[in-house]
């Protein structure tokens, strides 16, 4: 019975959203907007719940003997500090913005720099690990697109052969990405229909 109710609610919501899109300016469009507002509120609450869950996990790691993690105290201190400053000074406060943005951007940019160093080591060991055909193809394509996106090949565009080669190589990612997007779209449509007809119930997963 519970499953049937859930299926009915989800299917009816999807039907109202679709009808609101096809009939703008009608009562169906208004219903669609109300449903979307509820979904946004629910999404915001879900974010708050996620934050509380993260805090509780690290709290348990600090104050329980099992699975003690020394990084958790830093997280709790940082969380409490930021939330207190944000509540006290407000989100538009420049100090608060500089504090948070500097911390976040620095950390995340450093992580990306470490990724670059790791990739350099991996590229060096690439052919030492595998010498089969696929590895060779992958290595060659990597070399070509590194040179292409870096703009090195664009320096020889005056040369007819290189210009034609440059244009041909630039069209390759477009073709690949187009195929990927079509596949993603078909999957999204199928998933929507499955949810709409109740074959797939992501809200009922335990």
């Amino acid at each position: 019975m519970k499953k049937i109710i859930l299926v009915i609610v989800s299917s009816l919501s999807g039907l109202l959203l679709i009808l609101g899109l096809f009939f703008p300016g009608t009562i169906l469009d208004r219903i669609r907007i109300y449903i979307l507002d509820w979904a946004i509120i629910v999404g915001a609450i879900a974010l708050a719940i996620a934050i509380i869950n993260l805090l509780s996990v690290h709290w348990n790691k600090v104050f329980t003997n099992e699975k003690r993690d020394y990084a958790s105290p830093f997280f709790i201190v940082g969380f409490v500090t930021v939330i207190l400053i944000g509540i006290l000074l407000g989100p538009n406060n420049q100090f608060f913005v500089d504090l948070t943005s500097t911390t976040i951007i620095t950390v995340e940019a450093s992580l990306l720099a470490v990724l670059a160093l790791t990739l350099s080591l991996a590229s060096f060991r690439f052919f030492t690990k595998k010498q089969n055909l696929l590895a060779i193809v992958f290595g060659i394509s990597t070399i070509i697109f590194l040179l292409l996106f870096s703009g090195i090949l664009s320096l020889g565009e005056n040369i007819p052969l290189i210009k034609a080669l440059n244009n041909a190589l630039n069209s390759l990612p477009i073709a690949g990405s187009t195929g990927i997007l079509i596949g993603i779209s078909l999957g999204a449509i199928l998933t929507s229909l499955r949810i709409f007809f109740g074959f797939d119930r992501p809200y009922d997963r335990k």
């Binding site: 507002d37 946004i40 052919f127 664009s154």
Partner: protein, 840 residues
Amino acid sequence: MTDKITCPQCKTENNFSSIKCVNCGFNFQINSVDSGSEPDWLALLRDSNNEDQSTESNLPDTNENFFDLNGRSDDEVPDWLNRIRDIKQFDEDFKKIESGKTEELHPLTSTDNSDLVNSLRDEDQHLDENSIDWIASLRDIQKPVDEEQLLNSEKDDESHDEEISNLPPEMDEIKKDWQIEFPISLELENDENVTPAEEFPDWLSNITSKSKNDENLNDLEIPNWLTPNQEVPIDRANTPIEPFNLPEWLSKTNFLVDEEPKESSELERSDETENLPDWINDINQNKEKKTLDESPSDEESEGSVEATFDSVLLFNKLDMSPESKIGDEFKLDEFDSELNELEQKINALERDQPEEPAFILDESELKSLSVKPFIGIDESEDWFDNIQLPTTSDDLIEVDPHHHKVKPKIEEADKHVLPFKFDNVPDWLENIDFDYNEIEPLQSMEEEKISDSSDVDNIEKGKLPEWLKAIRPIEVVSPDISRLKSQKIIEKSGPLAGLQDVLTSESITKTYSPPPAYSVTIDVTDKQKSHVRILEEIISPVVQFNKSKKKSKTILHRMEFILIPAFLLLIITYSLFVDHTNLKFPEILPAEAVRFHNLATGYLNRNQSPSHVLVVFETEASSYPEINLISVGFFENLFLNNHWVTSIATNPNGVLVSERILRDSYLNVPSYNFEERNTNLGYLPGYGIGIQAFLSNPKTTSPGIDLNLNIWEKPPLSEINTINDFDMIVLVTDNSENAKLWIEQINLLVPDSDLLLISSAKASPLLQPYLQTNQIDGMLSGIIGGLAFNLLSQSEMNNIGRYWAILQLGAIVFVFYILAGGVISIFKKALTSDNIEKNK
């Protein structure tokens, strides 16, 4: 009749002196022996029964059983049955008086009876004068019953005791005749075919001796039917019995059988067992056992006239000593009282019954009658079972099992020879141990047998027919080893001779032979061998080499782990401090960058009044350096043209990144009133749903970061009611998935708005299809996009030029690493192969 003899088989008349039948070759000697071993009247009774068999075939069970009852009860039937017969006789006589049509109803029986009586008369004249008296009494039986006789029946019953007292002189004569005749039968049984008869002489001699000793007692116990006044047995033996003829008294016999005989039979049995000799008790016990074992069906007893004759023969032979019935005197009183009751019931029934007898009617008519012809008797064929209820075990033995048992034996063996007389099982069936003695005679067994079968040894062993020997089970013939082992052996020779259970000096090992040697060779083909090899490879456990031992890292391995990242950092760091003024930029710029530049500068700047630009930040903080480098020229251009900039983020970090990027751009354009013209709507949750809701109704969906301020009421956004009021939407993203949501929703809900895209190099490949399909009006992707915008807008190129150079250098370094790694691996393999060859 005197000169002729009738063949019992084909009924043809032959001369009296003839040995065999002229027609069928029947041996009259055997017949005469059989007939000689029994009274002549009984032989004639056979013929009459043979004749009656055809007429009685419709009722096999009742007739046969009744025949047995009549024919065999001559010397065994108890008094209660004699009383039943008397009652029946009275009843028949009474009916004859009533109807006077007895002769008409049973003409065949009357004629048969007359023939039988005539034959009896004729033969009796030739046989013995002593038998004339009692046969003459039999003649009297055939006389029609008078009313006077019926009326005097009570008197006859009352004078029953007197008749018994008158019996002895007549019975002595009959017994003498039988004793004379039985030796003849015994002599005939010594014939080759009559093997079991060899056993009889011993006990028969005992019988004769005992009978002589007990003669005085047995004279008093002679059954009633042997008395001259007893007319019923012969009469009933000659008359065919039909169920319709049965009168009511039979229904009352049921009561007699059910009630009285049980009591009387117990008394009789106790008396009989006391008076009977031991050998008869043994025989009776055997009979009882066999009757319990063999449950003869009624169907098996159909029409076995010959068997019944044999049974009668045997019965006469074995049970010739009359039963002692001491309790007859006090039973007569009971009998008189029952007789009176029966007469009263008969009178009552005569009044109730119709005048015409019921048996004249057809069966269908009988069924339709409301009053049944026989009261108390079922019309089904089970009526005789009611009569023949097993009163005692003796009755069972004496009536049923005889002819049931004898018949199949006669059929199997010679018809003239009885292979198994009566219930005596041959010795070879009872004592199979004789065979063991033949194989290995053992002293202990002999001793046991001598002690156990001292009586049995007196009886001569029977010879088995060949066919019976052939079908004997192998267990009977072969010795029982387990039994032989258990037997104790007495030493017969040597110093221990005479001792028992002595360990044998024979070497047991001599009895054993070495086990046979079998050659075990398997012919296996090459194909099978290959299959076995494959199977072994599959089944055999995988040999796991010990990989726990870490390889000792070489200096080169450690060096590459440190040197490669260090070399990259060195190159990039060096490039930051290198002068790139002479750096050569690409001459051909990307088309999407050109279109972006045209829309961002020409379209926005076409009007004199500043435009409203919505900037959506869908970026992570890690992409801030790249996005800032790409978009800084665009935002400087916006600030220079004093456009209204409203920013929103669907990523939590996007708010911070947007704030940082805009502020960085504001640093380059200080004339721009950033606080006034820049509005940050903050974070928009819900991803696709939030984007759709925001595009549908931006005011209600995103109230802004500062909740205290109603930003939609203030100047830049006070003019904005819908999403279409924005002049341009710029999407800044490093995530193709989230950018896709924005692109699709904007093209669906705001198709007329201009959408520009600033993406990182990572996200641009997947967004190229939207650019190719004109869902995106222009795009700046990667550093080259920012470089192109700066080149087109002729803005400052030093900063982006430096990173452009570092990017190119970094790309070359990565290509170098890949190629270097490939070359080193090739050399490593070559070196290892050379070392292996050298080692080999």
